[in-house]
Structures are given as structure tokens and as C-alpha cells.
């Protein structure tokens, strides 16, 4: 029997370390000699902390939401008596849950299975075999294999990987670089973090294969500083690989030398853009540079450099080991293989998933994701973060591949998928993203620097109930100019969240501007919390919970909210007992 606990950032945040400690203490206590293996994240973040029990037949039983209380029961019933505790099980080999069933794991193949801090775990799964195999072929063959696989960059743009490698290979230079882009800037996405934390060696191996293919001897991982655990595990992995001779001089006794170092980002979204990333690596302000020359020609310190996203690189060893055709067998015509998505927002089963390209959004959200939290109405799903857009319910049948998603006005992006329900205001979402891009604009291009600011001001006044006739058209016009007049992808795509919400949710904009109402009842300036005197029984709960003490009344008499002082935090609505339901949220327009 084996025990495994997920210790990714999400597991740790949910208390997995405490659970592991008490599990170990309890096992010791009972004189049971089984080691608890730490692992990365299997993606079922909504059930964290997770405990896997793997019996001697290899059957896996996954327990969710384990805590100090139910751990005892699981030990006594399952580990000692061999009777799985059904009520705490969230998944088992016998009864796979829908969340894992609909998935196909290539990039995430080892996540949650191996101990990311032990290199032999990775090697037992076939790790570094692909590198060994690659070194027996010519770099040209490797690039051909990647071409056959149809692999496209997972960092957002979807550029064919083989093409970039070939360009970097063909550009002459004594010193070339392979750079791994682990800056993961999309707020609301965590695919790369999870990969780095759960399977760091697959990234190192992918980088080594890329380096061999293009003729590079040095690798750099640019990782955001907000991911301390990922950085720690990468450092451990690099040291272990060096000790085993898998990094360093003459790898596998081949005339190939390669080493990797880590550079920590310092919190700037634009540094995910490859030329800005290079500027940052060189110790400068992360401002994008004009392309061409592309990094493949003149990158880090002016040398040919190849930049790939974490997930792109994680696919590489699998492709070399299993062949390009095996990868290309999955997915749609122009988008091959699988894609990892971070499902978040108003979704029941939030977490990390990997699915073949070409599945529909509906299948992902309803079958794998389990539908909308509290069974509310689906409104939109946001793809591509600040560069992407919101896709409405009417397009849920669309196939998830690069071309189809782009046709909606959104982009595939790096894999963030934030689900929104009827309580999400789409004008506010647009304002939220513009606030982000406006702050993150590096300031180099006038259109991006000032255009995003003006767009933000207009969106703010619409949310504030001060929108004017013509604002929608003005947003569209400025948006178009910002797209045309910006140097890098940040500005070129910053208007997307605004333009797609106008395209699909124009009525919400109009309600804000013309009727001064927020249909989702979200925008503070347009809503009011009131207490229905007929229903209020004067229980005093809301007054106690009001952070600004603006609710007053006599016990057993109806209470009143002082609208002047109300900060609209919504606490009163939350605490009012359902049997009274006396607090009403007004402002949606029409209904009271």
C-alpha cells in the first residue's frame, strides 16, 4: 500500500501540510509503517487537500477535503481494515469521476503522481529517456519530429514550435540560448505554476531537447517571483539533474553540453512578452522591442534565442518518446494534441485539466467542470485573460481550438478559463481588465499608454452610473486605434475584453448608460441594499455584521440601513437568515 498527498500551492493553501503531519503522527501512533509520499497537483483543486491510497493491486482511491478529523476514520477503516470510506472518496480506479474521466494527460502526465523533488521518481516514469533518444538522432530529425506532431506554442499565440526552432538553428552563432517563459501573467491562470511544482524535470528535459535541436548550450528559466514553491522545486530539480550528469558537460557521453539557470521575474505582466522578457533578463525595464529582428535571430544579449512556454516544453519529451504522429493523433485539424486549462471562477469543479483540442466549451464546463456553482445561470467564459475575451452562452458549442476561439474575438491564450454567472457584470469585467492592462502597460507606445487610460475612464464612468450616449461607440473607436498603434501584443490585444463584451453584451452597456441600472446587480453606484420592514423581525444579525455600523433599529422591530453611510459590502444580505430574507438588493432595473 502506498499513500500520497498533494503538496502543490493549492493543496498547501488548503492545509495539506498540516494534514500530512497529523497523518504521519497518527500512523506512527498506530505502529503502521507506511511512508506518506508528497506529490504535486492532480488538478482537483476543488477537493483539496487530497489523499491517495494506492493498494497493492495498483488501485487508486482518492479522498478529498481531508482534515484532522476524517483522517483517523480513513486510517482505521481503509488502511487498517481495508474498507474504503465511500463518503469521503472523490475518485477511485473503480469509479472514476467525470472530472478526471474526460481528460487526456500528456503535458500533465506526471502531475500528482510522482514526487517532484525526487529525480528517480521522474526517471521511473521514463524521464530523460526522450533526451537520450534525441541525442541519438540529428537535430534536424528532432525538428522534423516536432513538425510532425503539429505542436504549437502554448504561451498564447500558437506559433508552430518547429518553425521557431528551425529559425534559431539556422541563425549562425557560437552561443545560443533556450529560454523557458514561466512568467504566467494571466491573472486567473495557474497551469504553468502547477506544472513547475508538480513535474519540474519534464521542463528541464524539454529544454535540453530544444537546446540540442537548435544548438544551444545555455538555458534560462524566467519564473515569476510570486511562485516561490515552483522556484524551489526547479532549483532542486536542476541540482539533481546536474548530479546525475543530465545537465552539464557531455550529456549521455554525447558531444552535447547544456546547463540551466533560473531568473526570477519581478512582477510585470508585460515581461511575459518575449522581447520584454529578454530586456528584463538583461537587467533593464521590461519594455518590448521592435520585431524583427526576432529573438531567434537576435535575442538575449543579441544572440539567437528560442523562447518557449512551460507547457510547450512539457510536451516535448512525450513527443520525442512517443513520436510526432502519436501527438498529432489527438486534437483537431489545425490544433494538434492537448491543451491544459485552469478552470476557475463560478465553476463547481475548479482546477487544472488537460483535454484534447477540439472538445466543445460546453463539454469542458459542464461535463468536466460540473457546471456552474450553486446551479446559477451561465453567462460567459473568459479565455485568454487580459488579451482575450468573453464568450457568451450562445457560443458554448464552439470547438476549443486556436482558429475557432479566435473567430469569436477572444483568443485561446495560455489556458485561463474563468467562468462567469448571472451575478457577474460584463461592463465591470471589461473595466477590471482595462484597469489591469492600463496599470501594466509599459508606457512605450502612446496608443497603449493613453488609449487604455481613456478607455478605463469611460468604463469607470459607465459603471458609476455616469455613462453618456455615444460612450459605446467611443470605446469601439479608441479600442481599434489602440490595437493598430501598439508595438507589442499587450496593446494589440488590450481592447479585446472590451470589444468582445460590447459585441455580445451590448444590452448590459446600454442598461448602465441609458437606464442607470446594472442588470447583474454588481456595480456599487447602481445598487442599494434595503431592509423590507414587512419581513424584518429585528434579529439584529445584520447590524452586528455591518462593518460601518450603518444599520440601526430596536430589537424585534424592523431595522433600517443608512444609505449615506452604507459601503455596500453585502454582509447584511449574506447574514440575514433565509427564513426572513428581509434584506433586498435593488438596482437591477425593473424588478424591486
Amino acid at each position: 500500500m502506498k499513500l500520497r498527498i498533494g503538496l502543490g500551492s493549492c493543496g498547501l493553501a488548503a492545509g495539506a501540510q498540516t494534514v500530512k503531519d497529523s497523518l504521519e503522527a497518527e500512523l506512527l501512533n498506530q505502529g503502521i509503517d507506511i511512508k506518506v509520499q508528497p506529490a504535486g497537483c492532480v488538478g482537483m483543486c476543488h477537493h483539496e487537500p487530497l489523499l491517495d491510497i494506492i493498494d497493492d493491486n495498483g488501485q487508486i482511491f482518492t479522498y478529498g477535503h481531508i482534515d484532522e478529523k476524517n483522517i483517523k476514520e480513513i486510517i482505521e477503516e481503509h488502511i487498517v481494515a481495508g474498507r474504503p470510506v465511500e463518503k469521503h472518496l472523490v475518485h477511485s480506479s473503480r469509479q472514476p469521476n467525470d472530472f478526471l474521466n474526460g481528460q487526456l494527460k500528456i503535458a500533465l502526465r506526471n502531475c500528482g503522481i510522482i514526487n517532484p523533488e525526487v529525480i528517480s521518481d521522474y526517471m521511473e516514469q521514463g524521464g530523460y529517456k526522450a533526451l537520450e533518444k534525441a541525442l541519438k538522432q540529428s537535430p534536424k530529425d528532432i525538428i522534423e519530429e516536432i513538425k510532425r506532431s503539429g505542436l504549437r506554442g502554448r504561451g498564447g499565440a500558437g506559433f508552430p514550435t518547429w518553425f521557431k526552432w528551425e529559425a534559431a538553428r539556422n541563425n549562425p552563432g557560437e552561443v545560443k540560448y533556450v529560454i523557458c517563459n514561466a512568467d504566467e501573467g494571466d491573472p486567473g491562470a495557474f497551469m504553468d505554476r502547477s506544472l513547475l511544482e508538480s513535474d519540474p524535470h519534464s521542463i528541464l528535459e524539454g529544454m535540453a531537447i530544444a537546446a540540442y535541436a537548435i544548438g544551444a548550450s545555455q538555458g534560462i528559466i524566467y519564473c515569476r517571483a510570486e511562485y516561490p514553491l515552483a522556484i524551489k522545486r526547479l532549483e532542486t530539480a536542476i541540482n539533481q539533474a546536474r548530479e546525475k550528469g543530465l545537465l552539464g558537460e557531455n550529456i549521455f557521453n554525447h558531444n552535447f553540453s547544456f546547463d540551466i539557470r533560473i531568473k526570477k521575474g519581478a512582477g510585470a505582466f508585460v515581461c511575459g512578452e518575449e522581447t520584454a522578457l529578454i530586456a528584463s533578463l538583461e537587467g533593464e525595464r521590461g519594455m518590448p522591442r521592435l520585431k524583427p529582428p526576432f529573438p531567434a535571430e537576435s535575442g538575449y544579449w543579441g544572440r539567437p534565442s528560442n523562447i518557449n512556454n512551460v507547457e510547450t516544453l512539457a510536451n516535448v519529451p512525450w513527443i520525442i518518446a512517443n513520436g510526432g504522429e502519436a501527438f498529432a493523433a489527438h486534437g483537431s485539424e489545425k490544433s494538434k494534441g492537448t491543451k491544459v486549462f485552469a478552470l476557475a471562477g463560478k465553476i463547481k469543479n475548479g482546477g487544472l485539466i488537460e483535454v484534447p483540442m477540439g472538445l466543445s466549451l460546453k463539454e469542458i464546463i459542464y461535463q468536466i467542470g460540473g457546471g456552474i456553482k450553486a446551479d446559477r445561470a451561465f453567462k460567459a467564459v473568459q479565455l485568454g485573460g487580459p488579451s482575450g475575451g468573453c464568450i457568451p452562452a450562445s457560443l458554448l458549442d464552439i470547438s476549443v481550438d486556436y482558429e475557432s476561439i479566435t473567430s469569436t474575438g477572444a483568443i485561446m491564450g495560455s489556458g485561463g478559463m474563468v467562468v462567469m454567472d448571472d451575478t457577474t457584470c460584463m461592463v465591470d469585467v471589461a473595466r477590471f481588465f482595462l484597469d489591469f492592462t492600463c496599470k501594466e502597460s509599459c508606457g512605450k507606445c502612446v496608443q497603449c499608454r493613453i488609449g487604455t487610460k481613456r478607455m478605463l475612464e469611460i468604463l469607470e464612468r459607465i459603471c458609476d452610473g455616469k455613462g453618456r450616449a455615444g460612450d459605446i461607440e467611443l470605446l469601439e473607436e479608441i479600442g481599434q486605434k489602440v490595437k493598430e498603434g501598439s508595438l507589442c501584443g499587450l496593446g494589440q490585444s488590450a481592447p479585446n475584453p472590451v470589444l468582445t463584451t460590447i459585441k455580445y453584451f451590448r444590452d448590459e452597456y446600454e442598461a448602465h448608460i441609458n437606464d442607470k441600472t446594472c442588470p447583474a446587480k454588481y456595480c456599487k453606484a447602481l445598487i442599494e441594499y434595503r431592509i423590507d420592514p414587512e419581513k424584518c423581525k429585528g434579529c439584529n444579525l445584520c447590524a452586528k455584521k455591518c462593518p460601518v455600523n450603518c444599520i440601526s433599529g430596536e430589537k424585534k422591530q424592523p431595522y433600517i440601513i443608512d444609505q449615506q453611510r452604507c459601503i455596500k459590502c453585502g454582509n447584511c444580505l449574506e447574514v440575514c437568515p433565509t427564513k426572513f430574507s428581509a434584506v433586498i438588493l435593488e438596482g437591477g432595473g425593473g424588478e424591486a
Partner: protein, 179 residues
């Protein structure tokens, strides 16, 4: 718009604080000579001092043979760097997309009310600094905040306030010297 120098001379601005520059001697030794390491040096200096005092920026500029303005430019470009001291507890409140959709603004409203500060500010007792950040990578636990490296989620307004109150109570019972 205010001029950042407030009419003082450059020397005056960059040397006004009482800071022991010797604390980063080893860091500078390790990285000197390669200006590509500037960001790493700033990160390590911030770990030493808790923030980046202007005199430290000037010192780094001298050692790296760069203009102070260039180092200042880098330090102000990246959100990780702080030019002012922070409280004993640094609250990173996530305002990423997933947290926003799950009500992070409401959490912010009550936290600011509880702490009586604005975003980015530090409480008068020097205990808490609240900083809004974009995505801590635990989106499935949204809304999330992180206090000195420990993540908390999913938050409700109640739970968020309780966490702060507990920390305050702990400070008082331990008689901890406010930072």
C-alpha cells in the same frame, strides 16, 4: 503633478536615510560586473532591508557603474519592488480574475474598513500593509489572500476580518513590539 525631487538636490535625496550599506556587501560582491544581474541584486537587497531605501539604490548604482536614475527606473518599473517600509504583516490580497469574479472587491472593502487604510498603505501601528496583487496562483480557492507567505482561501468577508483580528490579538497577547 508633483516633481519627485521636491526641489532637493540629488545627493540629498539619495542619502537621506540612515541605512547600513554594509549589509549588502556580499550580495554586491557576488553579482558585480554583470549589469544583467541588476534585478536579482535589487531582489536580494529588498530581502535584506524589507524595502529599497533610496541610499541603497544609489549605492547599487555606484557599484554597478550605472546612473542612479537607471537603477531607480528599474526599481519603479517592477511591482515587486517597494521604496517604502512595510508593516510586520504584508497582506497580499488577490485581485485576479477568478478572485474578482468571486467577490474579492467585497473582501477589500471590509479589510480596508477594518484596517482603516487605503490600498498600499500601512496601519499606524506598523502592523499591517495591504497590497492588491494579481493572482496568487490558487485561483480554485478564490477569493484568496496571502499574509507573510501563508495563503488563506476561500475567504468570506467574515473570515477575512477574523484572520486580521486574530493576528492583532496575538500581537497584543504576546506584547509584541509593533514593527
Amino acid at each position: 503633478m508633483n516633481c519627485c525631487c521636491q526641489y532637493k538636490s540629488r545627493e540629498e535625496i539619495f542619502s537621506q536615510d540612515n541605512i547600513d550599506l554594509g549589509l549588502i556587501k556580499a550580495v554586491l560582491e557576488k553579482y558585480r560586473g554583470d549589469k544583467g544581474n541588476l534585478i536579482t541584486v535589487l531582489q536580494e537587497a529588498q530581502e535584506v532591508y524589507g524595502y529599497l531605501p533610496l541610499s541603497v539604490l544609489k549605492h547599487i548604482a555606484d557599484v554597478f557603474e550605472l546612473k542612479p536614475a537607471q537603477v531607480y527606473g528599474v526599481a519603479t518599473f517592477y511591482t515587486q519592488f517597494r521604496l517604502t517600509p512595510v508593516g510586520k504583516y504584508l497582506i497580499l490580497l488577490c485581485q485576479g480574475t477568478a478572485c474578482h469574479v468571486n467577490g474579492s472587491e467585497r473582501i477589500e472593502t471590509v479589510l480596508l474598513e477594518e484596517l482603516k487604510i487605503k490600498p498600499g498603505e500601512t496601519t499606524a501601528d506598523g502592523l499591517f500593509t495591504l497590497s492588491n496583487v494579481a493572482c496568487l496562483g490558487c485561483c480554485s480557492l478564490a477569493p484568496v489572500m496571502m499574509i507573510n507567505g501563508q495563503a488563506y482561501g476561500p475567504l468570506t468577508t467574515d473570515r477575512a476580518v477574523k484572520i486580521i483580528k486574530d493576528l492583532k490579538a496575538r500581537e497584543i497577547s504576546e506584547g509584541g513590539e509593533p514593527a
